[in-house]
Symmetry: C2
Subunit: 438 residues, 2 copies
């Protein structure tokens, strides 16, 4: 059987683009031996054709003319690594219309316009492959779509933003403040100069929208997801949680509720310190998936970076070139978006960690507990350290039993009204990841 040459065009020659070019140029023989495919990187398009990059290209490959890919009938696969949602969308649509399969790492675009793009691809009889859009080098899209295809997915719990995990890990293990840990993440290249999208939880929500749409088979938009970021996390709460056996992680959670709805949320979460996800440190990502047949599985690896993300892009190239992606993609039909199928965050059942700073005087505890009683919230633990300070204000930590979000919100509002409560109460959800016990 003659080996097949596959011509590839790449749009966006940044960090990940350089990694893809590196693999395609350096490892093409190895890939050919493994797959029978001769992968040929024909064109790279970028507005900046002058910048020094960590990979040497053959002459004539780099250009700033997008049409050099669009109009080249021999280019079968177009990789979009531009980022953003406007130009990138136009590029993808143009490539599909020009008869090319599209590969992308663009989580924001797929989260916001995925179904529109998938429909365009179906019409053009082409496919969009997006392994690199979630969790970098971890083959999580392929795991959900093929390896776990026999399963009804019950829940996903993911650490899918390496920036946040790096910051929280350093706050936890080095006792650093949020600002210091963020600065270090920026120095290390794990956080952007403007880190908003990461630390706000927005990036995690984009990934959760993609992962949960393919897991649950329905269209999910970022605005269907309840999102809280890590910007206001105080190291004191990480320490108090730790004393009580919890580790703080920014989790992206998608789960089917008992009522058959889908609960979707990204927020700082206290999880049991012995849970496997609690031990996912630094810039690493991990995703726990619960399937009805397979039980608990977990996938761990680097969620970003030049070579790990390029690893996922090249895996997609191989699958697209073999024709396998297209067959799978044909059946990527998502039920239309339906707000009624999304659980309301007010109805969320959870345990909660609450920290109040209160005046240390008689009657304080009675007032706190009567507010909890009024809202039918039952206490499962209290922590109050003896503390010496001039203003007689002490922290009180409360752990609740399972209760509804709206009851907690009402109690927090009542706490704020109390004269003896000196700061806005801190409230962090405790997430009990199911045990798939023996």
């Amino acid at each position: 059987m003659a080996d097949k040459t596959i011509k590839i065009g790449l749009v966006g020659f940044g960090t990940v683009g350089s990694g893809v070019a590196k693999i395609l140029l350096e490892d093409c023989d190895y890939i050919k031996a493994k797959t029978g495919l001769k992968l040929e990187l024909v064109k790279i398009v970028d507005v900046d054709t002058k910048k020094e990059r960590p990979v040497k290209l053959p002459a004539g490959v780099l250009t700033n003319d997008l049409n050099s890919i669009v109009n080249d009938k021999d280019i079968q696969i177009a990789i979009e690594l531009v980022g953003g949602t406007k130009i990138a969308k136009d590029i993808q649509l143009k490539m599909l219309a020009a008869g090319k399969d599209v590969i992308t790492a663009n989580k924001a675009l797929l989260a916001e316009h995925g179904n529109e793009l998938y429909t365009a691809a179906h019409k053009a009889d082409k496919c969009i492959a997006f392994e690199a859009s979630c969790a970098g080098g971890i083959p999580i899209i392929s795991a959900i779509r093929t390896g776990l295809a026999a399963n009804k997915i019950k829940a996903i719990y993911g650490i899918v933003n390496g920036t946040c995990n790096y910051i929280l890990t350093n706050m936890t293990s080095k006792n650093e403040s949020f600002r210091t840990a963020l600065k270090q993440a920026q120095d290390k290249g794990y956080a952007e100069a403007d880190p908003t999208l990461d630390i706000s939880g927005g990036d995690s929500a984009h990934k959760l929208a993609i992962l949960s749409s393919i897991s649950f088979g329905c269209e999910i938009h970022p605005e269907d997801i309840f999102v809280e970021g890590i910007e206001n996390i105080d190291i004191a709460d990480i320490r108090y949680g730790h004393e009580m056996g919890y580790t703080l992680k920014l989790l992206a959670i998608g789960q089917k509720t008992a009522e058959g709805k889908i609960s979707l949320r990204v927020h700082p979460s206290f999880i049991a310190s012995e849970n496997a996800l609690a031990r996912v440190d630094g810039p690493f990502n991990a995703i726990s998936i619960f399937g009805h047949a397979v039980g608990h599985t977990m996938f761990y690896g680097r969620g970003a970076g030049m070579m790990p993300t390029a690893s996922a892009i090249v895996a997609d190239i191989i699958e697209v070139a073999m024709g396998n992606s297209k067959k799978l993609f044909k059946h990527l039909t998502l039920e239309p978006r339906n707000k009624d199928s999304i659980a309301k965050v007010d109805d969320l059942m959870s345990r909660f960690y609450i920290r109040l700073r209160v005046l240390d005087k008689p009657g304080t505890f009675a007032q706190i507990t009567s507010i909890l009683a009024k809202h039918e919230i039952s206490l499962s633990g209290v922590l109050q350290h003896e503390e010496q300070n001039s203003n007689n204000v002490v922290p009180v930590i409360i752990i609740t039993h399972q209760t509804q979000q709206k009851k907690i919100s009402a109690a927090l509002a009542d706490f704020e009204k109390l004269e003896m409560v000196k700061n806005k109460p801190v409230c962090i959800r405790i997430v009990d990841i199911p045990q798939d016990g023996d």
Copy 2:
């Protein structure tokens, strides 16, 4: 596009076979919606057609006549779940010859005769899919063959036998003896009545042969693998190791050496207690894979059991039915077995844990250290607890720096000759799993 009906025959109606039947009967609508495939379980062949099973079959499906599958031209996929290496091999060859794709969970057969079967499948222009042969429900074969296809695999470290991991976990956490933990594993159904294949490391070696052959692209037989089981593990060593920061696991290791050879081994291994694999408990499996682009990835889940293994078999059914497995399988060509490419265990570089029971008298330590010096072994740690016993014999624990296996073997032989050494020395390898640091 009309949905495709795929007719399936299953040989072997035991635990896993029942799980497969359950998914195919109960979840066929769900799978059809996801994949467009109508999976129809047409025949199940088993010698025992009377036994009660946890799944109700339509009339006429169960038979003891293998030819009801072989001769049915409409059956495209045959699943072999018979186990063993003789009859199972005949069945697979017969199915391939009859023009059927084969799906199997039979690790022993593939480890011993994989290449012969793959060649037969290539000749028949059919494929063999074997996701369920390693690590049960974890989609590890698919991860190596597709998700990580862009990578040159540098090393695999796997906990791939749930029986051994269950036993070692209970020895570690419940302070149980090997015998007690084995008994409990048998009571729980995690160990066979004759547990030899599991506890000897043989089953792990079968899985390692499969995983490393597809990772490194060459034919590997179980006899190429150095194997030590857990039968002789003394709980005292688990405790001493724990004190020094190590957790004992039965690891299956395949790695490229600096000299370009492949080191293959299954043995009890002390790993750093903070390593992710150290926290894989009970019957769970996990496999760490290091790729040149992706860095460190880890895959975790249930390594056995009715539904997790059935999850992997049904994933294979879907991929085979779509035609994707066949395309990939075409390029499953393994370099012929070459003993020279396999690293000799004598040349293995490792750190070692050694426990001696010695007479507590002047000069003992001098004799031990002079033997180590003679073999150029350098000490990195020593542990000797004060101990009261009537015979004046005390345990001495030695941790070595990196050294060669053959030097340790020679030193152990010398120790045994010493009059003041009262038992056969215990020696356990310390495995330093690379850190993919930030």
